[in-house]
């Protein structure tokens, strides 16, 4: 389970963020004492830090600058300041991403998982689903020499399900990810894409690989 440290001084926001992340399968913890934020950042074993800019005692930008001298851990800046200047500054201080308040929860989760994935990707080699090889570049699934070509949409859906294998992926998450990839599909199109993907997986011998959870989403087994 990935660990995320939340540094946000608005108690309600911080708590709700924590709940959101926990519900989405992360291990989240919060900083509540802002006098020693820098030390807590350093000593934390989190994989990702969500860092607010407007903090008491030391501001987020300063904290990040200091933190970057000793660590290259992923940091996403959170802010209610919305100018491009703020964003560029944060990025130049070494933030991995920048999210503005109020957060759209789905987008927030998308960004979090994107940053964490970037982290993982840099290390691992082949992506596998059971004994089938997944090639995002070619858009194919290969099992025992049988190559199945997936469309762009099917690939996006499959990869998201695979990234969170065994967990429920909501239709909302799938939709947002598709839209994020310039595929502005509607509800029907999503259902069609999922059922086509099911068919293709079945052809490769993975019967009932995608399970539907009523009113919740899908789970890849």
């Amino acid at each position: 389970m990935k660990k995320i440290l939340i540094i946000e001084d608005d108690a309600v926001l911080s708590e709700e963020l924590c709940t959101l992340l926990k519900n989405s399968g992360y291990e989240a913890s919060r900083v509540t004492d802002f006098e020693t934020t820098a030390d807590q950042m350093r000593s934390s074993d989190a994989d990702l830090i969500l860092l607010d800019i407007n903090l008491p005692f030391t501001g987020g930008e300063t904290l990040l600058q200091e933190f970057r001298k000793t660590s290259d851990k992923s940091v996403i800046m959170l802010t209610s300041r919305t100018t491009e200047i703020d964003e560029v500054l944060s990025m130049s201080y070494g933030a991995d991403d920048y999210i503005t308040k109020p957060y759209n929860p789905t987008i927030l989760l998308l960004r979090v998982s994107a940053v964490l994935k970037r982290l993982e990707r840099s290390g691992s080699a082949k992506v596998m689903y059971q004994d089938a090889e997944v090639s995002g570049v070619k858009g194919t699934l290969t099992r025992n020499g049988n190559e199945m070509i997936l469309t762009k949409n099917e690939m996006i859906i499959f990869q998201l399900l695979l990234d969170r294998r065994g967990e429920i992926v909501t239709r909302d998450d799938l939709m947002t990810t598709l839209w994020d990839n310039n595929e502005f599909v509607n509800d029907n199109a999503l259902s069609v894409n999922v059922s086509r993907l099911r068919g293709k997986l079945a052809e490769l011998g993975f019967e009932d690989a995608i399970e539907t959870r009523k009113k919740q989403g899908y789970v890849l087994r």
Partner: protein, 331 residues
């Protein structure tokens, strides 16, 4: 200042002079002064009076001519007092002094209001950032509790807050944007995702074409512009939104087209004006007439041009053209 006009202005003085001259002549005649002497006296006095007027005219003419010239040519008329040099005659000096005092007091006043406007704007910015915290908190609560009923209203609040923020920014003389290489596609997708639920609820289909381009703009401002256009499309019953970009040698044009109710031809020239609501604003959902106005102000500040085309009942198309500047295009 023409001499004739000057003399006309001195008409009472001239009449007094002529009358006193005539009276003197009658008086002298009564004492049997000879006609030749009277004629010489007439010529001398008239010439003297004329010289006085001419001298006075020539003394004042350069000052007033310069004053009039300046006021006609000045872009900002209130700068006139800076251009006036104090002349060597009394009325001119009085006028110049009064102008200077006037200007001084006006400058103080303008500075005061400018400061007040800046302070107000700063407060708006701070307030917006503050109010976003509870809105963000509520949005997360809605999501965490699985209650999406309130989300849409919160989204509306957030949109209105953004409007205030960008209105304040668009009115501001200071530069709080940065123009940098921005992916047109990314900016559009980010806005589209923000409005995904509403778009899908209304069954609006989005399509994009040729957006794989980088333009020089402020990404945040562009995002706001997109959100305004999308908001309008939703308000005015569109079911399809098509966004295309086109590159010409010196600019990139973005066409944001929807198949909504369109804009009446008679309203079209005014849609970017402040507080203009037009027919659609009256017959459809309440409109404040601010959205497109703010869009055009932002475009103006960023150096983009914005225009609109529409056929009522068929389509509305907003065209934004982004200039291409090689100087800005440094890596």
């Amino acid at each position: 200042m023409r001499f004739s006009a000057y003399l006309k202005d001195r008409l009472p003085a001239i009449i007094i002079f002529v009358v006193s001259l005539l009276l003197s002549l009658i008086f002298l005649r009564a004492y049997h002064v000879i006609t030749e002497a009277l004629a010489v006296l007439c010529v001398i006095l008239t010439a003297g009076a004329f010289s006085v007027f001419l001298w006075d005219y020539l003394r004042k003419k350069p000052f007033y001519d310069k004053l009039q010239n300046c006021i006609n040519e000045l872009d900002q008329k209130y700068l006139i007092s800076e251009m006036v040099t104090s002349p060597d005659f009394l009325e001119g000096r009085i006028l110049a002094d009064v102008l200077k005092d006037c200007d001084h007091s006006m400058c103080d006043n303008v500075a005061l209001h400018r400061r007040e406007a800046a302070e107000f704007r700063e407060y708006i910015e701070i307030w917006v950032h503050e109010v976003k915290l509870p809105v963000g908190g509520l949005q997360l609560m809605c999501h965490n509790d699985g209650n999406s009923k309130y989300s849409e209203q919160l989204k509306r609040i957030d949109d209105y807050i953004e409007n205030v923020l960008y209105y304040a920014r668009s009115r501001n003389a200071e530069k709080d944007y940065i123009i940098k290489k921005t992916s047109l596609k990314r900016a559009f997708i980010d806005t589209a995702i923000r409005y995904r639920e509403e778009l899908q609820e209304r069954g609006i289909a989005l399509s994009t074409e040729n957006l794989d381009m980088d333009i020089m703009t402020d990404a945040k401002w562009l995002g706001f512009i997109f959100s305004q256009l999308m908001g309008n499309s939703m308000k005015y019953e569109a079911t399809e939104i098509t966004v295309t970009a086109e590159e010409t040698p010196d600019s990139i044009s973005l066409r944001f087209r929807d198949n909504g109710i369109g804009i009446p031809e008679s309203d079209l020239p005014y849609i970017f004006e402040k507080s203009f609501t037009g027919e659609n604003g009256r017959t459809h959902t309440r409109s404040t007439g601010m959205g497109l106005y703010i869009v055009s102000m932002l475009c103006q500040k960023l150096g983009h041009s914005v225009s609109a085309k529409s056929v009522q009942g068929e389509y509305t198309e907003i065209i934004i053209s982004f200039g291409k500047n090689d100087f800005l295009d440094v890596q």
